[in-house]
């Protein structure tokens, strides 16, 4: 194990599944060109709800035999996770992981589809007739355990459920584990599936748009739920170099905070968000002006976007505004992936750093004049960026930010 001083944490593998499609290549094209992959939800009958749209993963297939797990016992969330891990391993040039690793995953509801199925059976037929076998992958730590089991992995595993900041905190904790020398390798990310449970929940909160997901638009009126998974393989830099694998990017800063304001609403004064963003920037040893791009949480709810705009404006000061650092929310294209959102957004931010583009904030016709930001709306905006920050803000006032850098930029 390398010494504990100056340990740098690099990204060597990525796995991604979103409404855009399965895998890095498909997501890269769609993220760059600004494809709108949101449509009427099909996983259940959403027609009676205020919002009827979803960013669903279509045609997903894990078409390989499983080594240790029984496919019919797995929740969709586990299948998504396994498929993304397959991709990340290949990208990292790894057949499997033989050494002790740290695994941190973020999710809001884990195997909720399985839980819903069981409960529906009970409501319909009586709970004495409900099949408990469908519950074997319900609990939110089960999917990570499945991943460990399928690949015969060993190490330390943690499942974060910090609402919409889950994936970001999972990656942040893995970053810390490697930086402090506890581990040389980590798997970190987040996942969540489209379920009527969350759909009904966010609809009941009047947080879902009946029209279109338009982050930072003057007329924005709510979010669209999505599903998917984002996974990163993180390594200590010398460990990765010894393996001779390609370094895809670097994690250099992490910050987390709580609002202590309200159970569901963000603090309008954005104090918690400012604290998380500022801490991540300080942790990376840079100043706000060193950042070339902000991947915003940008849910498209009136409260969140205004709060985040205030936070960014406060942290970035004069470097923001209409000509300042570009800001965009990819939720406009794929929806809000809840526990997976921070992880998928980290993957896409790394993609942007590596490939040299800024993901567009689509559907934004007229930027809210109260959001004093340089919202990047144009598709195919090819530009070299060296450093970026990705923000996540969730229920319960959980805030988290990550600073990511292009490989070789430092």
């Amino acid at each position: 194990m390398a010494g504990k001083q100056q340990r740098r944490v690099v990204v060597t593998g990525l796995g991604i599944i979103t409404a855009h499609g399965q895998g890095y290549a498909e997501n890269l094209i769609a993220m760059r060109e600004g494809r709108d992959s949101i449509g009427p939800v099909t996983a259940f009958d959403g027609s009676a709800y205020r919002g009827k749209l979803g960013g669903e993963v279509k045609g997903f297939l894990l078409d390989r035999p499983l080594k240790k797990l029984r496919r019919n016992r797995l929740d969709r969330s586990s299948l998504l996770l396994l498929a993304a891990f397959d991709e990340a391993l290949v990208m990292a040039g790894l057949g499997t992981l033989d050494e002790s690793i740290y695994m941190a995953l973020g999710t809001t509801l884990g195997g909720m589809l399985s839980g819903q199925r069981y409960h529906s059976m009970g409501l319909e037929k009586g709970f004495d007739r409900a099949r408990a076998s469908v519950l074997s992958d319900y609990l939110a730590h089960s999917q990570g355990a499945n991943l460990m089991e399928e690949y015969g992995l060993r190490g330390q595993v943690r499942t974060f459920s910090d609402a919409c900041a889950s994936g970001t905190n999972a990656i942040g904790s893995a970053f810390e584990k490697i930086r402090t020398g506890a581990f040389d390798m980590a798997v970190a990310g987040g996942y969540d599936t489209m379920s009527e449970f969350t759909f009904a929940g966010f609809n009941s909160l009047q947080a879902v748009t009946p029209t279109q997901c338009r982050p930072f638009d003057k007329e924005r009126d709510g979010l669209v739920l999505g599903e998917g998974v984002g996974l990163l393989i993180l390594e200590e830099m010398t460990h990765a170099r010894r393996r001779g694998t390609e370094i895809l990017g670097e994690v250099t800063g992490y910050g987390a905070s709580s609002d202590a304001f309200h159970s569901t609403r963000p603090d309008p004064q954005a104090r918690g968000a400012v604290a998380a963003i500022s801490e991540a920037i300080k942790d990376a040893g840079i100043s706000p002006g060193d950042l070339d791009y902000v991947n915003a949480h940008g849910t498209a709810t009136p409260f969140n976007d205004l709060m985040e705009a205030r936070a960014i404006a406060e942290v970035f000061g004069e470097s923001t505004g209409r000509v300042g650092v570009p800001v965009s929310s990819i939720k406009s294209m794929i929806g809000h992936l809840l526990g997976a959102s921070g992880a998928v957004e980290a993957v896409v931010t790394l993609m942007a750093l590596r490939e040299g583009f800024i993901p567009p904030n689509i559907n934004c016709q007229e930027i809210d004049p109260e959001c004093l930001l340089n919202i990047s709306k144009e598709p195919n905006r090819i530009i070299k960026i060296n450093r970026a920050i990705s923000n996540s803000f969730g229920f319960g006032g959980a805030n988290a930010s990550l600073v990511l850098e292009r490989a070789g930029s430092a």
């Binding site: 205020r50 809001t108 009904a200 569901t264 319960g396 959980a398």
Partner: protein, 371 residues
């Protein structure tokens, strides 16, 4: 750097508040009911009047598991001599361990929209059913503005939460961290575990389930001393692990925890088992720590309370370390494990090791010693 536990709190079927809890524990008083029609023994928290115990009306509609956690946390903070309203909230963190969360609210919410359509979906039930509702409520109640995390898992997640809280303190992200775990009994949980054939008692014909919450405050030794507080126990080391075989995980965490505390097995005076997997936990401890005194797991008296049970065990272990032999004698009188001799002689160092298995081959271990 030494990390110490400066306050503990508990809500349990053995009593609300650690005095009542420890008193009933040392007497070995089981709160498990006899056979019930669902085929399990249950131990419920009795006499829990949230409005009296926690007057802050913002949480009167919160799920029971959140209310248990709030009350346990209030006791732990008071025990640690902390008034967080006078503390810099940015320097305080909260880490919660959760297994099932507010399952009752989840079921009611699901039933609402399933039977009545969108209008039957209650926003209150939904927002309080999310797994981090408990951490969010603690943050809100006490003005905690540092990191707020919820870790999900089986009984071992209580150890994970302590470990993560200790990391936040050790890494300087916070000065102190509130670590809480809660569980509320629900018929769907019990029914599912029974159907899945997951017994929770070694050789028990009928499984046993409990509920409640446990809370601890952890901070740097020097920080506690600056506040004029003496730690109840030092967190000498914590280890969590998962391997393809549970026995390897359990052995691994014991060895790692001993190594982390720079101790050998002979230095451990007493052992507590979580009871996540009695066979494996017992075998590993019998093999690696054959001479250590074994204390009664809380689970024997209150059933499987998952992550909350782990924090309850930690409250007991902290008490044993702080009070020393006096408490040990009490426990020796009423809490022998069948076939395992209980000695009352624990060395002056009072090092206690706690070991617990998770649901899926995970294991957690922590060692406490005199602060």
């Amino acid at each position: 750097m030494s990390i110490v536990i400066t306050g503990t709190g508990v809500v349990s079927p053995l009593g609300i508040g650690k005095d009542a809890f420890i008193r009933a524990f040392t007497r070995g008083e089981s709160r498990l009911t006899g056979a019930v029609d669902i085929g399990a023994r249950l131990a419920r928290v009795a006499g829990f009047d949230f409005g009296t115990l926690f007057p802050d009306r913002r949480f009167r509609r919160a799920a029971v598991v959140t209310q248990y956690a709030l009350v346990a946390a209030a006791e732990a903070l008071k025990d640690a001599g902390l008034d967080l309203s006078t503390y810099d909230g940015k320097r305080v963190g909260v880490v919660c361990g959760v297994t099932h969360g507010a399952l009752g609210y989840s079921c009611d919410f699901h039933k609402g929209f399933s039977t009545e359509g969108p209008l039957g979906a209650s926003p209150v039930l939904f927002s309080d059913s999310v797994l981090n509702a408990l951490a969010g409520a603690l943050s809100l109640a006490y003005g905690i503005k540092g990191p707020s995390h919820t870790l999900i898992g089986g009984p071992d997640v209580g150890v994970q939460a302590v470990e993560y809280g200790a990391e936040l303190v050790r890494d300087g992200r916070v000065d102190l961290c509130l670590v809480v775990a809660g569980e509320a009994l629900h018929e769907r949980t019990v029914e599912a575990y029974i159907k899945l054939g997951i017994a929770t008692g070694d050789g028990e014909a009928m499984p046993a389930y409990g509920e409640g919450a446990g809370a601890v405050v952890i901070e740097r030794d020097v920080g506690a001393k600056e506040r004029g507080i003496t730690g109840l126990a030092e967190l000498a080391s914590v280890a969590t692990m998962v391997t393809p075989a549970l026995e390897d995980s359990l052995r691994g965490v014991v060895e790692q925890a001993l190594s982390g505390a720079d101790l050998s097995s002979a230095d451990i005076a007493g052992v507590m088992l979580g009871g996540g997997s009695d066979d494996f936990e017992g075998c590993v401890v019998g093999d690696l720590l054959p001479d250590a005194t074994r204390f009664l797991p809380v689970k024997e008296l209150v059933g499987e309370a998952f992550c909350a049970g782990t924090l309850m065990n930690l409250v007991v272990a902290t008490h044993l370390v702080y009070e020393g032999a006096r408490a040990v004698e009490g426990i020796g009188a009423g809490a022998a494990i069948e076939g395992v001799p209980i000695s009352t002689g624990v060395d002056q160092e009072q090092r206690i090791l706690f070991l617990v298995a998770g649901h899926r081959k995970e294991a957690g271990c922590l060692i406490l010693k005199r602060a």
